[in-house]
Amino acid sequence: MTITSVPARDLLTAPKRRTRRRRRARAYLLDLVLLVVGVLMVAPLIWLFAASLTAPGSAFSVPPTWVPHPFSVENFVDVNRMIPIGRMALNSLIVAVLSVGGSLLVSVLAAYAFARLSFRGSTPILIIMLSALMVPAQLVIIPVFIMMRNLQLVDTLTALWLPALINVFAIFFLRQYFTSIPRELDEAARIDGAGHLWILFRMLVPLSAPALSALAILGFQASWNNYFGPLIFISSPDKMTLPLGLVTLQAGHGGAPAAVVFAAITMVVVPMLVLFIVFQRNFVASVATAGMRG
């Protein structure tokens, strides 16, 4: 293709130079547009950081503050006085770790059954589970709430992570991944005397590390940011997770001043930003992997 087009291009030097110049101009224009988009995307966050580090009285001056002046960490101290934010962060972490760890364990076991073991009913069960992907969370939340109430699990962290252990998407995703790993590997291991657990945890799981890390990242993010669940199940501040805590800080008992709310948002955003900068590739890859399923 390239070979045949070379002589043709040589004949057309003049137009080529013109298109190249036009193409370069267009590239600069695109660069500029992207720069503007990028700045617009980060501007609210920069303002957030700057205002939260400004002394309460001057945080929201007009024109907006882009540099914290006078600098102060008072807003952050106030957050701690108004809500147990450390406890809330710990709650978020506990719920996320249990949800992600537990659901991955459950999913890996089920995916192995679907991908490697033949038993009666496996296909119908898989189809029923997959059709549940279309069931919106709101449809099941009312009965689940009544169930949790009867089990006296309302206002406990258990109500948040226990229902998260079942993740049909993860089961299906891992089943597909396991199926793509050659069965000959299992058979070789079985001849050497390996059992199902060994094959699953010593062979398939390590080989599925990319899929597992994608699911773990997406699951962690979903749990960490969940608002609907805590809103319905949790009422006492020391059981709240960060998202609900933030909203109660802003709306609860008269509401905190905007600068304090900003400090609290900053405390939630900055750890995520650090994680993102460190694990950027993994974050992006996990979203792309989940998307490429389609």
């Binding site: 995307m41 059954a113 940011n225 608002y227 974050f283 979203v287 792309a288």
Partner: protein, 313 residues
């Protein structure tokens, strides 16, 4: 007992068959064992509640007094609910706007980024577009509530500088839903962007080059080569965006509570208010079933329509 019969020639296959059967039975047992935690959780937290929601929708219940069987009353009430048309209109408007802005914007951004460019600029724009997606709706909604504040917010100030009077977003019913659409775009465009960028990168460059040598212009390449090649990804992104958008709740609950004048009350917000604030469990279940059928219906419709424009590879 068969072993006692004097047919030594047939013995090995019989032993073989029983061994195979036993192996198969053990494999099935292992299958049920491995599946059991997932299956139990599935029944307890998805299948059971799903059936329970169907049953609850036939009752009138406030969680305190004994429930009362009312047949299909909740559904007839739903169909004549004077709020429902407004709520559905808001929800569909939000969902369509969300799909259009995310797919259109995401595709444009992916195309703009997918070319040789300055590494710092490339890193900055990709990160800036993607990062908000990692935050929680709670943080995003609260932040934007202040960003859009008519008094000291960024948007009002900078729009004022270029001579535009910013509306009072969350007080003016004709602007409130638009504001939520905008915030949602800022928050989740990174997801669509990354998915579409990954899809764009699977389009073979030779194909694009070939079209260009054949004299196709950029627009022809986009519509006749890139978009058809990306159609499975575009389809997936459309479905995911629609389903997510139809269930929009967090920012509504946090910023507007459904107001002003119902202008941002979406179906899930309505469900939440009915079920968890008014404790009309039966009626809320009926609303949940409506959500289920709408999502299923639209998804099936999209799959049906997809046969016309999605190219299987």
């Amino acid at each position: 007992m068969t072993a006692l019969l004097p047919v030594p020639a047939a013995a090995p296959p019989v032993a073989d068959a029983t061994a195979r059967r036993r192996r198969r039975r053990r494999e099935a047992l292992a299958g049920y064992l491995f599946l059991s935690p997932g299956l139990v959780l599935f029944i307890v937290f998805i299948a059971g509640p799903f059936a329970a929601a169907m049953v609850l929708s036939l009752y009138s219940w406030d969680l305190l007094t004994p429930r009362e069987f009312v047949g299909l009353d909740n559904f007839t009430r739903l169909l004549s609910d004077p709020l429902l048309p407004r709520v559905m209109a808001n929800t569909f408007l939000f969902a369509f706007a969300s799909v259009a802005t995310h797919i259109g914007g995401g595709l444009l951004l992916a195309l703009a980024v997918n070319r040789p460019m300055n590494r710092v600029l490339s890193y900055f724009t990709r990160s800036a577009i993607f990062f908000p997606f990692l935050l929680s709706w709670a943080a995003v909604a609260l932040l934007w509530k202040y960003v859009l504040d008519p008094g000291f917010g960024l948007v009002a100030y900078y729009l004022g500088r270029i001579g535009i009077d910013a509306p009072n977003w969350f007080v003016d019913p004709s602007w409130s839903l638009t504001a939520i659409i905008g915030i949602d775009f800022w928050y989740t465009i990174g997801f669509t962007f990354i998915i579409l960028l990954a899809g764009l990168q699977t389009v073979p460059t030779e194909l694009v080059e070939a079209a260009r040598t054949d004299g196709a212009n950029s627009r022809q390449i986009l519509f006749n080569v890139i978009i058809p090649m990306m159609s499975p990804v575009l389809f997936f992104a459309t479905i995911i965006t629609f389903i997510g958008a139809f269930q929009i709740f967090d920012p509504i609950h946090i910023i507007t509570g459904g107001g002003p004048e119902n202008s941002t009350r979406t179906i899930v917000m309505y469900l939440y208010q009915t079920g968890f604030q008014a404790f009309q469990i039966g009626y809320a279940s009926a609303i949940a079933i409506l959500i289920f059928f709408v999502i299923m219906g639209v998804t099936l419709l999209q799959f049906w329509g997809a046969r016309k424009w999605v190219h299987e590879r």
